[in-house]
Structures are given as C-alpha cells and as structure tokens.
C-alpha cells in the first residue's frame, strides 16, 4: 500500500490549476461590471490604444528597415504590445524599469528617445545609454541577468526610503535560469518593492513552453517563494494594466513582490535573424495574429465604446512612420563615434596602459583620415 492512500497527514502535492485574469475577452467584449469598477477613464483608454498602435507601427517599420539593410538585426515585439503598454502605464515616474531586450514600447512610453533605438540598431556606441531623467537600466542581452539586479535596485529604494517600485521584464525562457530563482528568492526574503513582469510569449526562440518547464503556468512558480503569483491575459491591455497597478500598489505599500505572468504571443520571428516557420505552425500563428491579437481586440472594444476613429488611426500610423523615416534619414548621415572614444567608459578613468592603447588607436584612425 502507498502511504498517500492511507495516511491522514497526506503529503501535499502542491498542485495548482492555471487560472487567468481577463477583463476584455478575445471577442473584444468587456466584463462590464468589472470594467466599471476600475479607474480607467477614456483618456487612459485612448492612451493605451495610441501606444499599442504606435508600437505596432514602429515594429513593422523597423522590420522593413532591417530588410532594406538600413539597420542591423532587429527583435520584433509585435503581439506583445498590450502586455508592454498595460504594464508600462502602471509604472510611475519615480519607479525603476529593468528591461530585457524586447521592451521597446515600455521604453518609448517612459521617454527613451527614438534616437537611442537608431543608435542601438545601427551599432553606435551609446545606443544603450538610458537618458539621465529616465529610471531605466540598459538593454540586457543575458537572459535573466537583469533579475537579481532589479531586486538590488528595489532593495536600494527600500533602504533609501524612497517611494519607488522596480519592475523587471523578462520572458518565459528566462524563468529557467538560475538568476531568475536567486532573484525571486532574495526579493521574497527581503520583501522588496519589485514586480516581476514575465511576458510569456510561449516561445524562447524555437523552444516552446512545454519543453521549457514542467509546470503548467509560470505564475505558480511564485509559490516557491511564498510570493503572490498572478496569471493574466497578456493580450488584454486592461487586465495587464490593472494587475500591474495592483502589484505595484502592493509593492509600494510594503507588501512585497509579485510575479505576474502575462500570457501573450510573439507574432514574428525571434529576431530578423530567425525564421519562425522552422519551428511552429502557420495555424498557430494565424490564431494569435487574428482572434487573439491585442490591437484588433482593443480596437473592437474602442469601437463599441465609440472611441475609435479611423482617421486618428491613420494619422498616428503615418506620424510614426514619418517620424522614424525622417529621424533615420538624418541619422544615416551621422558618423559613428570612433572606436577610441569608447575607451573612456571601461573605468571611471582609463589607466596609463589603456590611455596608450587609446592613443595608438586614435593615431591609426586619424592617419587613415577617418
């Protein structure tokens, strides 16, 4: 006989069922009772829409620019706009944002200028320098490397007694890394004001979620830390906004961290160097590109609310496209900084040896008339 069959103090399996917060369903229908109780006014709805749309246009444009060879490898975020916009709009000026590499809309919303992205995608030094007035860490290329850093950032805010919450972005694949675990554990031990916002786009390059983890959800991983875990429809901007807002309130009022799993989908390839047709079906992508698409869904909601204007949409689309085109055309004439200029950034002051190396390079570059 098995112990589990006979014993009263049965070992717990600690199993949980997935469950997902949704306010706006896939047909663009809102849960009315609920929606009325939320503090989301029309202005905010339009702001949400604007950013989702701007994000979509930006993304399309940058993919095109890459195809034209005008920028380097580009990582598309199409499909994830609602998760990014919903969470980003819940973040306040005094808060900190600790991104991975895909949070383009989050960055734009919080004041990272377009120019940074041009620099970055054209390989200029300084493209990952967040502007002084934006509380944001640089783009992170090491999966999950930013997670313990975000925890440290929140820890500093707490120690300094500042009213500031740190939001850390990462993907489903990042949850497999040791740094995810170590970071969340630290956050839970010190009850830090940090929100872990996971965009579960269901793929880590070619690896689907079921090859990535044995758990049915990412939210349930919060249990390991005695932390609050929330699963939300990541293509429902209203739910994302609300869930993020509540998590930040909790963090702000000293009630510790939250792990949010925003279930969404990457519509494009991992980057322009990737080809999604190698590992997933057209049907799957179609499903998410239509019925579940965050832009389409939110538009039909706005239509119901009488807030949609196709002229306004067209205006935004061409504004964003023009802005990028103009900025890029201008930027294409900018000569990248010479390599030796970066030597001042390895340390606060380059030592003598490094100065010699810098001078050597400078001399050569100058001698070549560059």
């Amino acid at each position: 006989m098995k112990l589990e069959e006979g014993v009263k103090t049965m070992p717990k399996t600690y199993e949980v069922k997935p469950d997902m917060v949704q306010i706006l369903n896939e047909d663009g229908e809102v849960d009315k009772d609920l929606f009325l109780k939320l503090n989301i006014d029309n202005e905010l709805l339009l702001t949400m829409y604007e950013w989702i749309l701007k994000g979509r246009v930006f993304d399309k444009k940058f993919i095109n620019l890459q195809r034209q060879g005008r920028i380097g490898t580009y990582g598309s975020f199409a499909g994830q706009e609602a998760a990014q916009v919903g969470s980003a709009l819940a973040i306040k000026k005094q808060d900190w944002i600790i991104p991975s590499y895909r949070e383009t809309v989050v960055s734009l919303i919080h004041g990272v200028p377009l120019n940074n992205f041009l620099m970055y995608f054209r390989g200029h030094f300084g493209g990952t320098r967040p502007p002084k007035n934006v509380n944001m860490f640089p783009i992170q290329h090491i999966i999950a490397g930013q997670i313990p850093q975000a925890v440290g950032c929140a820890w500093a805010s707490k120690l300094k007694g500042e009213d500031s919450v740190s939001t850390c972005y990462f993907g489903d694949g990042a949850t497999s890394q040791g740094d995810f675990h170590e970071g969340l554990n630290f956050a839970s031990v010190y009850k830090l004001p940090v929100v872990f916002f996971c965009q579960n786009n269901q793929w880590a390059i070619s690896v689907p979620i079921e090859k990535q983890m044995g758990s049915e959800t990412i939210a349930q991983k919060a249990t390991a830390y005695g932390m609050k875990g929330v699963r939300v429809d990541g293509n429902d901007v209203l739910a994302c906004y609300q869930v993020a807002t509540e998590a930040m309130e909790r963090a702000r009022s000293g009630n510790g961290p939250t792990l949010i799993e925003a279930v969404t989908y990457r519509l494009g390839s991992h980057t322009t160097a990737d080809d999604w047709t190698r590992y997933r079906s057209k049907d799957e992508v179609e499903l998410w590109a239509n019925k579940k698409d965050p832009l389409i869904r939110f538009e039909s909601f706005l239509k119901q609310q009488g807030l949609f204007s196709s002229e306004r949409k067209a205006a935004i689309v061409s504004m964003v496209e023009d802005e990028i085109e103009t900025a890029l055309a201008e930027f294409e004439t900018v000569k990248p900084a010479p390599a030796y200029e970066s030597f001042d950034f390895a340390y606060d002051k380059p030592d003598e040896d490094l100065l010699i190396q810098k001078e050597e390079l400078k001399r050569r570059i100058k001698s070549e008339g560059r």
Partner: protein, 325 residues
C-alpha cells in the same frame, strides 16, 4: 570528396560520431527542431530522434551540469552553448566540476563531454555575443580547449574531441562558419588535439594565431612573401594543452614572434605563449615578442569592432616593429 563549409564539417562530425556510438547525444538551446541558431545541428534531430538530440530549457549551468552527470553515468554528451559569452553562467560546472571530477574521484569517474560554442567577432552581433574568453579555460587544469580554423580541421578535431575522455571546450569561429568551402573527406577521421599546424613556412619571423584570425593573417603572410619576407604561420588549433614545441622550433629558426588573437590583451593566450617562449628559448629571441589583440576594454559595439579587433593595419604595424629591431 565534397566541399564543405566549416559549419557543415562540424555537423558531419557530430552526425558520424552519433552513428558510430549511440552513447553520443546532443543537448542545447534550439539545437533540435530548429537545428541550432547557426544550423550546426540541422537535420540531426530528424535523423537521430528526440532521444539523441535535446532542446533544453534556457539554462546553461543546467546544460553543463546535466552533461557532467550524463557523462559520469556512461554517456558522451555534446553540449552546445549558443554563444561563448554565455559560458560565464557555466563556470562552476565547467571549471569547478567537469574539469576536476577525474581528479576529485581519484580516477573513478571521467567526464567525456564536449562543449561546443560559437565565438568571435566581426559579425555585428550584440553585446556578449562576440567575446573571446578562451584564456579563462587555458588557466583551468583538467580541460582541453580546441579552436579549429578551417573545415578540415574542424571535422577532425571535433571527432577527436568527442572521442576524448576529458572535457573538451570546442570553440567555433562565427566568421568562419560559412566563409568558404574546402574539400573534406567523407569518412570519419581525426585530427589530434594538442598539435599546432605550421600553415606556411618561413624564416624571417613567426606569427602564431588561431580561429577566426587565421585567414586574415594568412593573407598578410602571403603578401609579405611576395615582398621577399618569409613569415612562418602557425595555427595553434589547440589552446590547451599548448603545443609549445612547434612554436619553439619556429622561434628558434626565426628569432621573432608575433601573436594575434581577438581576446583582450591582458591575461590572454598571447601572454602565456610569451611566458613559455621566454622560458624555453629566451636566447633565440632577436626582438621583443609582439602581441596584436583586442584592446583592454569590453568588447565594443558593432560600428567599433573592426577597429578594436586585430586587423590588417594593426598587424602590419606590428610586423614593422617586429622586423625592424
């Protein structure tokens, strides 16, 4: 005999060893269905199935740690680390574990794993995707470190690595993956680990290099030849153990040595070669040994990398210095 690119030769080596020995398995991120982000394992998942080729979760320490356990229990895992810059996440499992397990267990266990990782610059990759960190492993007893520079060696060395009973780090130059094709024998063959190759003979000076820099240096050496200056070109092929004998023999002949590598200068492989030549044949040296390497800064952004890496201008400048005194 077919003409293969380096990445094709690497793929063929894995495929043939997997056919030959069912204990050989592959694991890594995106190496299965997707065939690897550089297609090094393309077709192997289809050919050998999901019990031989594993798409793993995104966790490099987990990949190497489980490879160590797999090897200790009889398998011969070939693990791919998607970019060498991510080797940092695995340092304990590589240097603290795999490299020491034979020693720790007094010979009871061997850890026949191969860790493949693409590396090197000039390919316009993002941060930490181009770094050359091989010197960290030169400083780690218990490991072998192999770096091929052409399709023929890549196949033969990878076969040797898979058959080797020690943990082997196998570094694949990104820029050489598809840069050219050459004749590669169809059958499985091995190129010995630990032996450098004299690619061009000469008596006026010696250049030692490896991996992605080899073709560039070769071109320069050939240009010098037309000017009547004969430089001996040595492709290290293995970083650890270092084939100091071949370098020494060359330096005894030429009296002048230059080392070219992409890794940052301070504490790089070049330093160890200089130290050894100093110890082995100090009196043969006619001039200070010259290093042409990455500068001592973090690997830079794409618009700066060609200036930062060893390039023709820098090597020529170094040669002027080397040959003038």
């Amino acid at each position: 005999m077919a003409k293969l690119t380096m990445v094709e030769a690497i793929r063929q080596a894995m495929s043939q060893e997997m056919e030959q020995n069912e204990r050989v398995i592959l694991l890594g991120e995106d190496i299965g269905v997707n065939g690897g982000v550089f297609r090094a394992t393309e077709g192997l998942y289809e050919k050998f199935g999901e019990n031989r080729v594993f798409d793993t979760p995104l966790a490099e320490s987990g990949i190497i740690g489980s490879a160590v356990g797999l090897a200790m229990n009889g398998m011969r895992p070939v693990a791919e680390i998607q970019f060498f810059g991510f080797i940092y996440q695995t340092m304990d499992q590589v240097c603290g574990q795999a490299a020491r397990m034979r020693y720790r267990s007094g010979g009871r266990f061997t850890v026949p794993i191969v860790i493949r990782a693409p590396f090197g610059g000039n390919v316009r990759a993002p941060e930490l995707h181009s770094d050359s960190l091989e010197a960290l492993f030169l400083h780690t007893p218990g490991l072998k470190v192999v770096i091929p520079s052409n399709p023929f060696d890549a196949k033969g060395l990878l076969i040797s690595a898979i058959r080797d009973d020690n943990p082997v780090l196998f570094l694949e130059s990104l820029k050489l993956y598809r840069s050219y094709r050459e004749e590669v024998p169809e059958e499985a063959y091995s190129v010995p680990i630990g032996k450098a190759a004299v690619l061009i003979e000469g008596e006026n000076a010696t250049i030692v290099t490896y991996g992605g820099s080899v073709p560039m240096v070769k071109k320069i050496v050939e240009e010098y030849k037309t000017k009547g200056i004969h430089i001996e070109l040595i492709d290290l092929r293995t970083i650890s153990p270092l084939d100091i004998k071949t370098i020494k023999e060359s330096v005894e002949k030429t009296g002048r040595l230059m080392i070219v590598h992409e890794a940052v200068k301070t504490g790089g492989v070049g330093a160890e070669i200089i130290a050894r030549i100093n110890e082995e044949c100090f009196y043969s040296l006619a001039a200070p040994i010259v290093r042409v390497t990455g500068y001592d800064t973090p690997y830079p952004v794409q618009t700066m990398e060609d200036d930062w890496l060893p390039n023709e201008a820098r090597i020529n400048e170094g040669l002027v210095k080397l040959l003038s005194c």
